[in-house]
């Protein structure tokens, strides 16, 4: 079974969201998503400083098999991207919740966090 850490938030498009102490969020893709993709071989990241809308595609992950968009889970500004993934995309398979974070965001509206799924809701969505 896919690993779904209880301390993270989720969206149906298989991104996870971690709320940091300073109110910013870190975003990556879930274990379920990396498992479905297979061996990841290419990652394209958003521009630092870009304003993104919730549900807009802002990054790309490609496995040997297929390309898949990564969506901004919430509206806000990209404040950091994980450049290490560009040279080591396989980390997405190895450590999806740790070393393989994709980008960090400053949220336009912190109240948007209330609309995200918790681990139980996401697990149920994956099984459905």
């Amino acid at each position: 079974m896919a690993n779904v850490p209880a301390d993270l938030k989720y969206v149906a498009s298989h991104e996870w969201i971690r709320v940091e102490a300073d109110g910013t969020v870190t975003v990556g893709i879930t274990d379920f998503a990396q498992e479905a993709l297979g061996d990841v071989v290419f990652v394209e990241l958003p521009e630092v400083g870009a304003d993104v809308e919730a549900d807009a595609d802002c990054a790309v992950v490609e496995s040997v098999k297929a390309a898949s968009d990564i969506y901004a889970p919430l509206s806000g500004k990209i404040i950091a991207v994980n450049e290490d993934l560009v040279d080591a995309p396989e980390k997405v398979n190895e450590d999806p919740y740790g070393e393989a974070w994709f980008f960090k965001m400053e949220l336009a509206n912190a109240a948007d966090l209330d609309g995200l799924m918790d681990a139980d809701a996401y697990s149920a969505a994956c099984e459905g």
């Binding site: 297979g38 061996d39 071989v41 290419f42 040997v64």
Partner: protein, 362 residues
């Protein structure tokens, strides 16, 4: 419900991730597609290809019949067991399917793609009435396993020692029967190896024996990256009924001689040749970042446009490679439109990889 091969339980046991492929429940990988790919390039891997369709074409008219239906000439098969790769064309010269035909006792054995089975059988049947002494028999009771890689033949002999008499001395593109089994030195990976037809009741034990001597099970994912590196066409991607073999890197499979052999599609191919063939199928190696995928647009400056027919990440070369159909005047470089960005690519002669090594120039 999707059909299952006799090896279905073996795939589940080995944690195969099952997907639908032309109505069959088949493993796409057993964990890591890249590890499976590399096992074939460096050691030995095995594929369940039991979903492919085996048809025995028998009778004294079988040679005339296949000389009519295939663009390649079965008369080239002098020795029993020798194999030939051919396109089967429609009247317009488009490829209905690509197939392998083996010379057998009293006729031929033909192996066609599973995705095209129904239309192939219909086409084969529709040309049958013109021939008196001819039988077509499908052989669904035969499973098929491809064992591929530099150590593949040694591992097969280890797993089934009694097959040595059939396998030893087998030339490339040649097969030999052993009781109800058939061993052919053919494949779809660019490596040495065998494709083995096995009675369904015996195939699970054979698969287990191969596992026991260290042969890596490989799924459809690795099969695709291996064949693409080897520059081998995938029906439905790289050619179909709207594409002639002359535009699919299959000109070498068209037997023009003898000139009076009227195979189906010949007139259309001759007209195409006389008018000048418009496009060619080439290899692309991406020079920038990204992964080429089928249907992406190819731009050849000053010449025109083409299209990627198959694209992937090459585990052996560690960059993106593709096959693309481009105008014949295309030189050694082009641009590929990847999600709106034009990324430069080098045009190379296929294949990319043979026997574990990069073979294209540059």
């Amino acid at each position: 419900m999707a059909k299952r091969t006799a090896l279905y339980d073996k795939h589940i046991e080995a944690n195969g991730k099952m997907v639908d492929f032309a109505g069959w429940d088949m493993p796409v990988n057993y964990g890591s597609q890249i590890e499976e790919h590399n096992a074939v390039r460096t050691n030995a891997g095995m594929f369940d290809v039991s979903h492919m369709t085996i048809i025995d074409v028998m009778g004294s008219d079988s040679t005339d019949y296949l000389q009519k239906l295939l663009a390649n000439d079965v008369a080239r098969l002098q020795e029993k067991g020798k194999a030939l790769y051919s396109g089967m064309l429609n009247q317009d010269g488009g490829v209905i399917d690509d197939l392998i035909v083996y010379k057998a006792d009293g006729g031929y054995r033909v192996v066609v793609n599973s995705a095209t089975r129904a239309k192939d059988l219909e086409w084969l049947q529709s040309h049958r009435p013109a021939f008196d002494n001819l039988t077509l028999t499908e052989r669904p009771e035969l499973a098929m396993v491809a064992v591929q890689g530099p150590n593949a033949i040694a591992r097969v002999k280890q797993a089934k020692p009694e097959c040595e008499v059939a396998v030893d001395g087998l030339k490339v593109f040649q097969g030999r029967p052993l009781a109800d089994w058939f061993f052919a030195r053919t494949g779809y990976t660019g490596e040495d190896g065998l494709e083995i037809m096995v009675p369904e009741a015996e195939v699970a034990a054979f698969w287990q024996a191969l596992l026991n001597v260290g042969v890596q099970p490989c799924g459809l994912g690795a099969r695709d990256t291996l064949r693409l590196e080897a520059g081998m066409n995938l029906y439905g991607n790289d050619m179909d009924e709207s594409i002639s073999p002359l535009q699919a890197n299959m000109a070498w499979t068209v037997a023009w001689e003898p000139a009076d052999r009227q195979f189906v599609g010949r007139d259309a191919l001759e007209a195409e040749k006389a008018a000048g063939v418009a496009n060619k199928l080439v290899g692309l190696v991406l020079e920038g970042r990204g992964i080429m995928r089928s249907h992406q647009k190819v731009i050849v400056e000053g010449v025109g446009e083409g299209e990627v027919t198959s694209g992937t990440f090459s585990p052996t070369l560690e960059c993106s490679i593709a096959m693309a159909r481009v105008p014949v005047a295309t030189g050694d470089s082009c641009l590929v439109d990847i999600r709106g960005k034009q990324i430069p690519a080098r045009v190379v002669k296929l294949p990319f990889v043979r026997n574990g090594k990069k073979v294209y120039e540059g």
